[in-house]
Symmetry: C2
Subunit: 251 residues, 2 copies
């Protein structure tokens, strides 16, 4: 299975340098040093670690795993975008996160996944069988420390999102969403503006606890007020990140 020319919705870094068969983005656990507080793995550990992984690819809109599926693997996203979501019995859905290259997913307590993971674009991942991964964890000093610090960051992000969902208006939510996407791009050394939106309005709505129509109206309002420029429907520029940030925080 090969990755189509990738003109789904996410152009992303047109082509990150590809080193001798390894995935095109560094593995968050082993190489994304800027996100970790602990010393990176040594050369030997990295080799042992990569030996555990299989690279897999998935087409746009495919489900990686569903809430309740037996949890057999953990993953590291190397290309594309993924949504993490939970749903109620009647279909109401909440997307709890969007994952970008370098993000890690699938680790949790219990023997089944607590959420659904879907490909927003064609994706590529490193896949680790969970027992092998756990064994590597326990054998490799510093790995759990690193995972703990990643989990702490996720927890802080989750709290920000709860503040958004519980207390922000529709326009504030959309502004916050755009700011956080921009910041994530900037944190990886890519420009914070313009950015591409690999997700649809419906997916943004499910992430922000709104409807498609309300998200669309918020985009329109931000555009008419000059806070954003929509080059295309999935490409946004920010003439003034400072003001947008103020809108996002209700300041």
């Amino acid at each position: 299975m090969t990755l189509p020319p990738s003109e789904g919705r996410l152009p992303l870094p047109p082509a990150l340098p590809r080193e001798n068969g390894r995935p095109s983005s560094p593995c968050a656990l082993c190489a994304a040093r800027q996100f970790s507080v602990c010393a990176p793995l040594d050369q030997d550990s990295q080799v042992r670690f990569f030996a555990l992984a299989t690279t897999i690819r998935l087409e746009q809109r495919r489900t990686l795993f569903q809430e309740g599926d037996p949890a057999g693997h953990v993953f590291n996203l190397t290309d594309g975008a993924v949504s993490i979501s939970k749903a109620l019995a009647d279909g109401r859905r909440q997307i709890t996160g969007f994952l970008l290259p370098g993000d890690f997913l699938g680790l949790q307590q219990g023997d089944s996944y607590a959420y659904t993971a879907e490909a927003l674009t064609p994706i590529a991942l490193c896949r680790f069988p969970i027992e092998k991964f756990q064994r590597f964890l326990s054998e490799t000093p510093g790995m759990e420390h690193r995972l703990l610090s990643m989990a702490s960051n996720e927890l802080a992000a989750a709290q920000d999102q709860m503040l958004l969902l519980g207390r922000k208006t529709a326009v504030e939510r959309v502004a916050s969403f755009l700011i956080s996407l921009s910041d994530r791009h900037a944190a990886r050394g890519r420009p914070g503006s313009p950015i591409s939106l690999p997700m649809t309005r419906g997916e943004i709505a499910d992430y922000l606890g709104l409807t498609i129509e309300t998200v669309s109206r918020a985009f329109t309002r931000l555009r008419k007020e000059g806070r954003i420029v929509l080059d295309t429907v999935d490409r946004v520029r920010f003439p003034d990140l400072g003001t947008l940030r103020e809108i996002a925080t209700g300041g």
Copy 2:
């Protein structure tokens, strides 16, 4: 400073057995084995661990630390109830969690607290200086594993709360809140009904992303429909947990 007879709002376990000066509730990190996937610490490690801690007490409504304060300690709550919250500049507030005895708080990335922690009732905590705690972590096999599993559980709870905040109605939110409190009591071996509510309607509102009035109306509606019985304003009985659970999940 001594703890008053504790008739604030939280009678809680009237008097857990108190062993030779140790806090009345077991430390989540060392003793609450039912919440951990890893082997408990050995006797020696426990002794070394407790040597790091100071027991402190705080009166009702006092702030333990605020969002932005330099982070100097981590804590383990041993008695009472604590709220964790974040706020916007204009005062809108979101409570992201309620902590009960046995819960752990204060560990995060960065050198300042990312949220505010307040005593809902008179509280007692074990306090660990963060550097000593970190050193103990790195010296004690299994500790980071345990913290990681705790963080994973918190992350799963945070995702549930996002689903609640983004997609549930007011009555569903209140029902979910009551169910989760009941479940937490049951998980600690205490009766799941009746339960006491150590927090005010305003604090419940800030947790559920609602207003005081809406929370009150939801309580009234659940009461009139026979789903709950309010012995007093802060004591709830559940005649039929199954039906309440269905309401909570929109099923």
